[in-house]
């Protein structure tokens, strides 16, 4: 295989890596004693997880009355968090599936971590539909299992049921996809390991030998799963948006929701990938694999999706006015100028205005700005869901039922707790699995390594 030399293409792997160096760099974090940074981070994460367990236990023990939701605002932080976490998951699938189909080679540096993020985010998201139930112990009612009650089936008209299918399908496919990618890399780790570790990695890599047949099957499976996952990128958040769009509540009952939610999901997902990647590459010293080129590409996606979301916000306002429908009009006036105006400002500022900074290439390649922006976008997207859910519910048709809502400590702790759950999973993941897809990175070394492409190609070729 001869290397396609291009002076225009930015290298995706820097540091003039050899195949062995790649293996060394990426597998070594799983083999060494954890760093102090990791240990501190892990202690924090597990504390968060403990907080999560405590506050969820409290919720189940005391009842949903331990939250401040009320007869008017029946969903608040719970469903806000649910949508936020589901949205975050989307970047992983987009990177691994759609970019794979589009043969975007820059995805290889970040897809593993992004996919892991997807899974952990979906796990976090999946908590909320369960714990927000008044009677979680009867949550199995939501599954269409054969029963002796008639049989009594679930209500297939309900968007909440669609959610159950959408989220569980999404989680299953994401796990399969992620694990499939991990199999050859686990084999690589196994080959370097000894004793019990070797046995474990041998087991989890399904006895991978690296034969041509294995590789061929692996490639085929990856493509098939990518094909399966691609519609999910669009469908999952579309269905989540149906939770709102199919209702009769002004501010929810909106046909723009599916595309707007999907764009928002990708937007927030990429922001979260940035947050994680910037930290991971720094801590695990993976700057050669997750380069500025990667960060630049992802910032472009953030800029594009952020602008789509911005257009959606403005469209909503325009349509509310143009519809001539007073309830819709009031709902949007209320969003902007009602008692929750601050969350609307937060949403607009973080999601629409701040990403415009990425029109500048310098800013796209500035690590600090990128990190800050990724946090902003995460906050903004949380506000967006809060605006849609709480602000809308607080003031609907009958003014006599209007209310105002702020969370209790339990609700706040559950949210912080899911961050702990997510971080714990992620920190364990970077300790036990290659955080960059070794096999795939090796696959693009010849056409993405700095010794082969870019302005400085072949200068120090040996």
């Amino acid at each position: 295989m001869s290397a396609p030399v291009s002076a225009l293409r930015e290298p995706l792997i820097t540091g003039q890596k050899t195949y062995h160096a790649i293996t060394e760099d990426i597998c070594s974090p799983t083999e060494k004693t954890p760093t102090t940074a990791w240990v501190i981070a892990f202690i924090c994460a597990v504390s968060g997880l403990a907080l999560y367990v405590f506050s969820v236990t409290w919720t189940i023990w005391v009842g949903i009355g331990s939250w401040n939701l009320n007869r008017t605002i029946n969903w608040g932080w719970d469903i806000t968090n649910f949508v936020w976490w589901v949205g975050i998951g989307h970047a992983g699938t987009l990177i691994s599936a759609i970019l794979l189909l589009f043969r975007q080679k820059w995805r290889t540096g970040v897809n593993r971590a992004a996919e892991a993020m997807t899974i952990f985010a979906v796990i976090c998201a999946g908590q909320f539909p369960l714990i927000h139930m008044g009677r979680i112990w009867l949550g199995f009612f939501i599954l269409p299992y054969p029963n002796t009650r008639g049989p009594l089936w679930v209500n297939f008209n309900s968007p909440l049921l669609w959610d159950v299918f959408a989220i569980s399908t999404y989680l299953t496919v994401s796990i399969l996809f992620w694990y499939t990618g991990l199999v050859p890399d686990f084999a690589t780790v196994r080959d370097r390991a000894k004793g019990l570790r070797r046995k474990i990695y041998n087991f989890v890599s399904f006895g991978w030998t690296g034969s041509a047949k294995h590789w061929q099957r692996w490639e085929s499976l990856s493509l098939v799963l990518a094909g399966l996952a691609t519609p999910l990128v669009l469908s999952v958040h579309t269905i989540v948006s149906f939770d709102f769009a199919t209702s009769v509540i002004p501010g929810w009952h909106t046909t723009i929701f599916p595309p707007y939610f999907v764009a928002g999901a990708i937007f927030s997902g990429f922001a979260m990938v940035q947050t994680l990647m910037l930290t991971t590459r720094k801590v695990l010293k993976l700057e050669d694999y997750i380069t500025l080129e990667h960060i630049d590409s992802m910032n472009k996606v953030i800029l594009a999706t952020g602008s789509i979301v911005g257009v959606a916000y403005l469209t909503e306002l325009f349509i509310a006015w143009y519809s001539g429908y007073i309830y819709e009009q009031f709902a949007f006036y209320n969003r902007v100028m009602g008692p929750y105006f601050w969350s609307y400002i937060g949403m607009m500022g973080c999601n629409v205005l701040s990403p415009q900074i990425f029109w500048s290439k310098r800013m796209r390649r500035n690590l600090f700005v990128t990190f800050l922006m990724s946090i902003f976008v995460n906050i903004g997207m949380w506000f967006e869901r809060f605006v849609i859910i709480a602000t809308t519910l607080a003031r609907d048709y009958l003014p006599t039922s209007w209310s105002y809502y702020s969370p209790t400590w339990v609700e706040v702790c559950i949210f912080i707790g899911t961050l702990g759950l997510f971080s714990t999973c992620y920190l364990i993941f970077i300790r036990v699995a290659p955080v960059v897809a070794v096999a795939e990175v090796k696959g693009i070394l010849k056409n993405g390594g700095d010794q082969y492409v870019g302005p400085k190609a072949n200068q120090s070729h040996h």
């Binding site: 309900s158 199919t246 100028m337 929750y340």
Partner: protein, 1085 residues
Amino acid sequence: MKNKQGDVWIGDAQLANDPVYWQESNQEFHSLSMTDFLGEEEVSGGSSSRRDFLKYLGFGLGAATVAASCEIPVRKAIPYVVKPDAIVPGVATYYASSFVQGGDYCSILVKTREGRPIKIEGNSLSSVTRGGTSARVQAAVLSLYDTSRIAGPFRIRKGVIDKPASRNGKGPGWAVIDEEIRSSLKPGSRIRILAPTIQSPTTLQAITDFTVAFPQTKLLMYDAVSAAALIQANEACFGQAVVPDYHFEKAACIVSFEADFLGTWISPIEYAAKYVTNRRIHDVKKPSMSRHIQVESHISLTGSNADNRIQVKPSELGAAILALYNAVAGLSGLPAQNGPSLPAAKARKIKALATELFQHKGESLVVSGSNNLGEQTLVNAINVLLGNYGQTLDFQHASLQRKGLDSAVNGLIDEMARGEVDALFLMEGANPAWDIPRAAEFVRAAAKVPLKVSFATVPNESTALCDFVTPTNHFLESWGDAEPKRGHFSLMQPAISPLFDTRQAEVSLLTWAGSNKIPAGAEQPAMDYLMANWETQVFPKQARFAGFRAFWEHCLHDGIFENPVSGNAPVFAFAGDVSKAASQVRKPEASGLEISFFETVNMGNGQYANNPWLAELADPVARTSWGNYLAVPVTWNGGNRFSSLNNLNPREIYGEADIVDLSINGRSKPVTAVRQFGLLKDTVALALGYGRSVTGYMGKALGNEVGVNVYPWLSLDEQGNTRYYAAQAQVSEPVAKEDLFACVQYHHAMGVTGKDPETGETLNVDEKTSMALGSGYQGGIVDRSIIYKASLNELPELVHHIEEKRTEAAKLNSKTLYPIDEYTDHQFSQGHWWAMHVDLNACIGCGACSVACMAENNVPVVGKREVGRHHEMSWLRIDRYFFGKYENPNTVYQPMMCQHCDNAPCENVCPVAATPHSSEGLNQMTYNRCIGTRYCANNCPYKVRRFNWLDYTKADLFAVNEPQVNGESLPFGADNLTRMVLNPDVTVRSRGVIEKCSFCVQRIQEGKLTAKKEGRALQDNDVRTACQTACPTGAIVFGDRNNAQGDLTRKLDNPLNYIVLEEIGVRSSVNYTAKVINREESLDA
């Protein structure tokens, strides 16, 4: 060998007295530990050890399972050997009886199930209350099961009831207590019996009989919310010391000076029904309705229903009455009287009012709730001048529901202080240590009375001062009667045996008097005495029945005996001294903040403090519950800013409220503020009856310290009558934040307009100020299809407007993918198709339906903290909207319950199909299936679904999340006594499920079965929902839309009908009739 002769032995080991043998044989169970046992098996080398292990495992699990489940609860259901005729398990029995609490009266039917009273319905045979009820009547059944009830006769030492702690503990017993009381009484003892109004002729007779033994006995009646001046004035003017019979139904023009006759004044159930007859629109082509003008300070329930309110400061009311007298006198050609005068603008309005009244001479009615003798005399004079006596009010069937005189209790205090009272008996409902202005003096004077006995059923502030408490029965356990109006008798019969060791006060009195009228050993002495009294007093008044037995049984069945006088009412000559009256009226205060004290529909004078149904019922006007809140006036400063007195509660839309120090006459107390439309600048208002300090003895009771006690702020006027206002009040700047602001609805309006002081533009006020930034969208609130209202003269426009909006809605709704019409026709044309109609002109907002719904449907009480968090569980609420001018708005009350949409948005979003639609158009709720996602509640446009946030019914296995209602020691509802009130036909919901109005599906089912058993088609009367039966004005009608002859169908055919939020296409089953007011614009000028 040690064996006694004759013993039986089973082996030589026994005979040999082998110690091992004795050890083993003394053990009932052969003990061998599992490990030893298994070990032995292993030692024996048997290959069956695994099998045995599994056997023991199986046995162990089985034994554990049996052991865990073997504690079967003891069920005490014992079948009747001989079944009483009246009790069929599962079938309700109704007893006609009377609700009597002091001056409050209602003829009722008590619904009992398996011997337990569970619900009170109105008795439609009564011509006084006409089948209507009030919130207090509906809630009375809960008082029967009050956990604070006194369980038997007890001595009281130092304010503590001398009894064992447990409720069923043994006290000294009736014989001992009777003897102790009797020994303290001598024939010459100066005994004073203090009571609220006694409506019962039999109780009065018992007191008379008691007086035979103790001739120095005096009965003194007073009412905590007094009508003394009214009675005194009628005595002075006409020689009739009673309350007249008011005919609101005959009046074309009603003027009320602070009389809350729809809510609390004298006989509100009766007056509301009469009032509403002239307020409904029967024919939009030829509309007519009475005009009601309220002159008052605080916006009362009645004032909120008025067409016009003329606002005066509390101290100006006397001047206003005098001004009206002078104006009417002027029109009648009589001289004016000198006295205090009104400011010019208000005087002009009163003058216009006089003209209005004069046009309706003989068909007008002026009433006043004032407790000032001069003012009441002038009101009588006005009615005389207008020729209303004999027309709209007369004395023929005068009301006997208020008899109390303030002078009675005040005179008693003086007597007691002088040591001239030997014994004081406090009848149930009398609480002079708390509910009078001179309560503190009473407490001091009580120390000088050697014997004090209380008949209270529940401890109160006065009971704590007594030496003995000899509790009387709850009225649902009592035999008794009432004469609420002349010639209208009402019987009271027990619906249950006394729950505790209590005895009716009449019997106690007669026992102590040693009267021979109660034979010794009588099983039901109270009944015998009542029957004897009726035989001598009531039976002779009629001619229909020859024998007393038949008469008695007839009356007991009907609950009433009415013997109205026929012919024209005699007109008494007016003998009042008008000029003296003019000098007696209250003097207006030149300046300063004034406060009015008013009675609320739920708490009365404080005697209902222990009733959480009433405490939780939101005040109709202020929409607050669990306490009294200082109503402060709201002013609009143009733009987006409201301000209020001292800028209180600026963040009320966020559910935040301020606590201020209210100071009157140097007494200062912290109170929570609530903003209130319709109050004049410089006036505030606070409700009576809150802030009770002693309501129970078992730890902290749930009625304790709810709100603020205002009685110490009251004073007496020159005639010795209680004054229900105070001048020179001071309201401080906020001193603290209220963290439990239990307000279910903030000051939202529906089209309250005002002129912007800067631009002069007429703007929608509430809507502008509901925004946090900028101004809102004009019409965003007011154009909602929730409330339609108009003035009588704009009726054609309103009909047109409704028609237009409904056509537009129908057009919008026709754009659907689903053939809903075909479906509806097919689905609902077959059997029943339930629907409801609510007439907003008949609804006065009294809240009887709300409490009836709580009683019927086991709706939990959640308490102040939870109401403050908007967790109230009411299935039926009454939304209040203001409209018109913001300084002086009109009000519309809208009962809002599940609308049972035929295209219900809640149904299709439930993932587990827990809320399906019935083939009869009911939106059903399956609690067992509900997992509590709450999506249905979010998607309900009417926000009528309620979620059990916590374990409100105290039904969970673990008591960890049982919220207290008011910090009481035993959470409300956790006691089995309280649970006796539950309706067995309605599931008690657990935590975590949604609930809502079911259109009383249990009543529908019962009605269907009744019709089926009788082999006939169901009629609308077979099924009446709880709210419908409770309503005193008949505003709610329920029935079958498919029944062309039904009551409902007739109601549906009204061009003023509309459906709330019709354009969103949910197909609600509840029709409302638009609100029409008869406002006279000239009175606004």
